[in-house]
Symmetry: C2
Subunit: 350 residues, 2 copies
């Protein structure tokens, strides 16, 4: 039932904003040059051996060394995993090398050595190039490998990756993470693992190398769906916290008292606790999540809700205020800056 | 500044819905028959003695023995306080007597014996009659008494009570409570005490007799303002939880998994944790807070936000769904039934 509803959502679009860093490979050419799939017996033998690589730990490939990917790589190195990584930028490659990781010249070069591949890219175009482009993972993926797509992307993009690697019999897991860049740095992430349960169980030690917890949440795609549900709440609760703070200030209450009292009562949310203090201080830096980056999530959730036919009145009512935050100079601040938008609405003009 | 904004909010209206139990005294006659105020020296002497009444505990009067008032009375009895109470209905009086409390024939009769008066009524009309009506508290209030207005009412109604008792030099505290009827029964409430700080400190043992915690939150009225801020969040978060659950169901996710995962992550709220499970089970009984009763809070918050000039887009967007819950047969269910409203919007008709 739910699957049928997805049908029109599976077309190919990029809704990524201009602000998101793009990886510019050669144009996407699909899963060309796919060679024969390994035999099932080969795959079974390879699987048994996966955890017996260097130092009893599989080699982890990380494609995309942004804030999240680099944190995965660093924490995995610290946990003793061999790591090989790739990014189009030089700085994160230097950082990876400094952390004891190996630097690769392409996703293909990552695939040649990696037992587990973590993909942590910022756009659908980058994802497609890294997987199926001329120098993509697909051309050198090991027969015993497991691929984890970690991003927040539309399901159709995740399914593209799944189908691409299916041609070689490689399991792909949809594994978005819950947590900010700051949380990633201190290994305070939760992985929403979905897809082949055996594969997810097998590579659990890898997840444990960079996340506080891993939840297996169901069939392929359940991870990203759950993330959309969670971020719908994050989107609404952040604006709700701003409303509460503006209401409190307009009624003359002490905002620090309000923060303490609300955090301890029936009105609280994790967002209120995390971002409420930034609102009290009217200081939205450093960003845990920039407004301009979060717009991608907002658009994904909105499209997703429409695709599955879920009426989401508060999500819809939230969007204009995030757009206003973009419009009014808060685009590089934390999403807590939505508070400034509401507050500015109460200021006399002229 | 904020005070000036209140001016037009201070007119006399009753926005209480027909469903709320009303106390029908003789028509309100203002603070008539006010006699001389006690001298300051008398009041000071009386105050020193307040905590040395029967069994070292002051006698507590409870006016209004609904779900909340009766819980206060029972818990205070259990904590060893002499309690005298009044209600227009017979059943709660019997319950009070069974709990070892004394039954009074009018608010006036309560005032004759009470050192501390807790007012826990359900409508502004009832509040006015109980305080200033022919058999109201004002006619017999003791010179050393402290009056606590515990309800969720517009500030103007609270200020009416304050001004009425000011004529006799009696401090009135604005002390709404945070917590449901179920929480009240097990002493799991937080009192938001505002007004005269000395008086609040002095009667703290009384609050401790029926609440888990008391927060002194500021000048008179800060309590009800804080409660409006908290309930704005409760109103929004409850609908947000419903949106999340409907989105999850429409996308084919396992709802118990969603409840567990979201409760543990960045998307959670106290409301999601409290009401999310009722939504998973689609079972909105027994009510912790009935939709029809909560409409009073929704209207109060909406009026308050307009009065203090606070733009509250998500609060405004929430109202139609609560009204729909009223309209579609969920009025006596818990406010979690707003989930049914959204869910019904996804069902094919015909």
């Amino acid at each position: 039932m739910a699957m049928k509803r997805w049908s029109f959502f599976l077309d190919d679009r990029s809704i990524i904003l201009a602000s998101v860093r793009l990886v510019n490979y050669a144009p996407f050419k699909g899963a060309a040059r796919t060679t024969r799939s390994p035999k099932a017996s080969e795959r079974r033998r390879a699987r048994r051996n996966i955890m017996s690589g260097t130092a009893d730990r599989p080699t982890v490939g990380v494609v995309g060394l942004g804030i999240m990917g680099l944190s995965y790589a660093r924490n995995l190195r610290e946990a003793g995993f061999p790591v090989i990584g790739f990014d189009v930028a030089q700085a994160p490659l230097d950082a990876l090398r400094a952390a004891g990781g190996e630097v690769a010249s392409s996703p293909r070069a990552v695939a040649e050595k990696a037992d587990v591949v973590l993909i942590a890219l910022a756009s659908v175009d980058a994802l497609k190039s890294a997987c199926g482009g001329d120098e993509g993972l697909i051309h050198a993926i090991r027969p015993d490998a497991v691929v984890c797509e970690m991003g927040t992307f539309p399901l159709y993009a995740k399914e593209y990756v799944q189908k691409l690697f299916e041609t070689k019999g490689i399991p792909v897991l949809d594994c978005p993470v819950s947590g900010t860049g700051a949380q990633a740095a201190v290994r305070d992430l939760v992985v929403y693992a979905s897809g082949d349960k055996d594969a997810a169980d097998r590579i659990r030690p890898v997840f444990d190398g960079f996340a506080r917890n891993t939840r297996y949440v169901g069939a392929f795609g359940a991870g990203i769906k759950l993330k959309f549900v969670a971020n719908l709440l994050v989107t609404i609760h952040n604006l709700a916290a701003a409303e509460a703070m503006v209401l409190a200030e307009q009624s003359g209450l002490d905002l620090n008292m309000v923060y303490d009292a609300i955090s301890d009562g029936a009105g609280t949310s994790r967002m209120f606790e995390v971002r409420g203090k930034m609102m009290v201080d009217e200081h939205y830096l450093p960003p845990q999540m920039k407004v301009e980056v979060y717009m991608k999530d907002i658009q994904l959730i909105t499209e997703f809700a429409t695709a599955v036919r879920a009426p989401t009145p508060l999500m819809a009512a939230s969007v204009p205020y995030y757009v206003a935050a973009l419009a009014s100079g808060h685009e590089a601040e934390d999403t807590a800056a939505i508070h400034a938008v509401l507050k500015e609405m109460t200021q006399p003009k002229g």
